[in-house]
Subunit: 370 residues, 2 copies
């Protein structure tokens, strides 16, 4: 990138439609007046779709509209390719751009499988891609910085353990038609690879990596209903091959132990969809949030129980940049700002992404009968 440069970084986005992820999550930062980026191209499944999106989303008149990902790769005026398609299309969508040596930001998961992720890492390396990163943006959420500071201050002493119970919304009784690929293991998208992995990545950003772990995956609902957003049924008893329960227990490099259970579906009504405890020698921190998608919805409360005083303190989230934005937007804003500043301290590069894919692969291997 061009840190310090006054010229905006020129983006080509693959997969941009009103109401879909990139429009909801990325655009609010990218369209800010103080954004360090400029959208110069949109690539959808067809030129018509790209033209429609550019218009409906009020992109500048000169934006280029493509229907083929090779065109993005070939466009010399693009500094960074952003890929926001569903996971099973990542590989094909970004391969040409990586081959062309372009910088890429791709949504997590990097690929539909460990193998795809490895190949994408290789092609990035072979073509000397300067910046190839994935959107594991939970690391940028305010809770991470807040907790890291509280732990560094020693307010709960050495961390002994952490427990997480959370609900992933997807993989419940029904699946939305627009994301019904999530019931197909082959797609690479699932409760495990998306909400559970994002959440664990965020937890690990605070508490460190696993030294070892074991897991229990289960697919309890093997047939689900596919519905539209209005509740109308598209298909009864669609075959589901992805897990709806992800249970992990392990030891972190720090020596602390972890137990995490992420299940599909909605939380118990009126209860937090994320309950995360960090138990230390001298105190305990209790984090609550709306769902497993901590990177999208943030947290709703953070409390610290100090054993010495037996008192509870409400912790305020550290403001950080873009604190006035919703978590779904501020975390991507921070990803973009880190890219613009060339700050790789929190960004997850393809090496890091392959490591996360290894974790998923290992979980599947540990549960080969599921």
């Amino acid at each position: 990138m061009k840190p310090g440069s006054m010229k905006p970084i020129r983006i080509g986005i693959i997969g941009l439609s009103p109401g879909a992820w990139a429009a909801n999550a990325h655009l609010p930062y990218l369209q800010r007046p103080d954004s360090k980026f400029e959208i110069v191209a949109v690539c959808n499944s067809s030129v018509e779709s790209a033209v429609k999106s550019a218009k409906d989303l009020n992109l500048p008149g000169g934006v280029r509209t493509y229907g083929n990902v090779q065109d993005i790769a070939d466009d010399k005026d693009i500094d960074l390719v952003v890929c926001a398609t569903r996971v099973d299309r990542h590989y094909n969508c970004i391969f040409p751009s990586l081959q062309a040596g372009k910088n890429v930001l791709v949504e997590w998961p990097l690929g539909g499988s460990l193998e795809e992720a490895r190949e994408l890492l290789n092609v990035a390396k072979e073509n000397n891609v300067e910046l190839a990163v994935v959107g594991l943006q939970g690391r940028f959420e305010a809770i991470v910085e807040t907790l890291k500071e509280v732990l560094k201050e020693g307010r709960i002493g050495k961390v002994l353990s952490t427990t997480i119970i959370s609900q992933g919304l997807i993989a419940g009784q029904t699946e939305l038609h627009s994301q019904s690929y999530l019931i197909d293991r082959e797609s690479g998208g699932s409760l495990l690879s998306i909400p559970a992995l994002h959440l664990l990545d965020t937890v690990q950003a605070v508490l460190g990596e696993f030294s070892s772990f074991q897991s229990l995956l289960s697919n309890q609902r093997r047939a689900v209903k596919i519905v539209k957003a209005d509740g109308s049924v598209v298909k009864e008893n669609a075959v589901k091959t992805t897990p709806d329960h992800v249970m992990i227990q392990g030891t972190l490099n720090s020596g602390a132990v972890l137990s995490a259970t992420i299940r599909g579906g909605a939380p118990f009504k009126g209860s937090p969809g994320l309950e995360w405890s960090i138990y230390g020698e001298k105190g305990e921190i209790k984090i609550a949030g709306p769902s497993a998608f901590i990177e999208i919805v943030g947290t709703s409360s953070v409390q610290l129980h100090d054993f010495a005083t037996d008192e509870i303190v409400e912790l305020k989230l550290k403001n950080g940049t873009f604190a006035e934005m919703y978590p779904i937007n501020r975390n991507l804003a921070r990803v973009y700002e880190a890219i613009a500043a060339g700050d790789k301290s929190l960004l997850c590069d393809f090496e890091g992404a392959v490591k996360r894919h290894h974790f998923i692969e290992e979980v599947y291997n540990q549960n080969s009968q599921v």
Copy 2:
């Protein structure tokens, strides 16, 4: 026993002192006018101690006072020997009575190890002991009958999973001097064998047995402070060799999956020390309670979230017998009544106890480095 007989069943209690477990837990039922039992003998570590207990606890004048467990075994007027000593004394305390063919009710855990438990089972069998049971009385607590009924009615459909997060009070920052044997693995008493096992036994009474499981044990606080009830310190940095974290994940015979984390120490201030969810096809049940010791303190709330109506219903505990007593007392009252009635449907006999000891042994084997 003598079901239907008008004559009370005559008990000899091993280990009865004011303020200790048997006095707090067993006596309230045994001293009721409608109790079907009569305490005819007390055996403590000395005759003097037995005499003092009998007097301080207002036992009838004719009660026999022993300082040697062989005397209990030899007493022809005792129908049932009750052993309420600490676990590391169970083996020696009840062996002579089993050899004498006496009926025995012994607190859980049966022995200090799987080997001891097996030997006690064998000696009971060899001597044709009619009734040899352990105090796994959580199965008698109202929540079990309540949940079994709700599940049987199909109100949440097929059970898909269950999650438990709970705190065991013991194995925290400090250990009480009176129960400091709990920090010594050799004693057989620990967070694993006592609160975690009682809780899991209660859960399994509702949801069935494991078909497979894996576990993570951890001893995070390897040196703890031994204190008296008034908080005064008896010993700093006493070596602890028992776990303070018990994490279990497994599959039940029904196919449902389970994740349970029981840690030592107190709950987060103001939060339940037991959070137990039962997630089904059509609804979810959420149980809260004060701590892992569900058999002693019961539960504080049971709610059902019906997915079809999206409403929450508070479930009332089924009253059952002795509902007016505290859980610590009513569950033992029910154990005694089951013994008197010759009803073995819920009682845990020595075969069942050995099975539970097997579980503990397997957990230790899975975590041999702890």
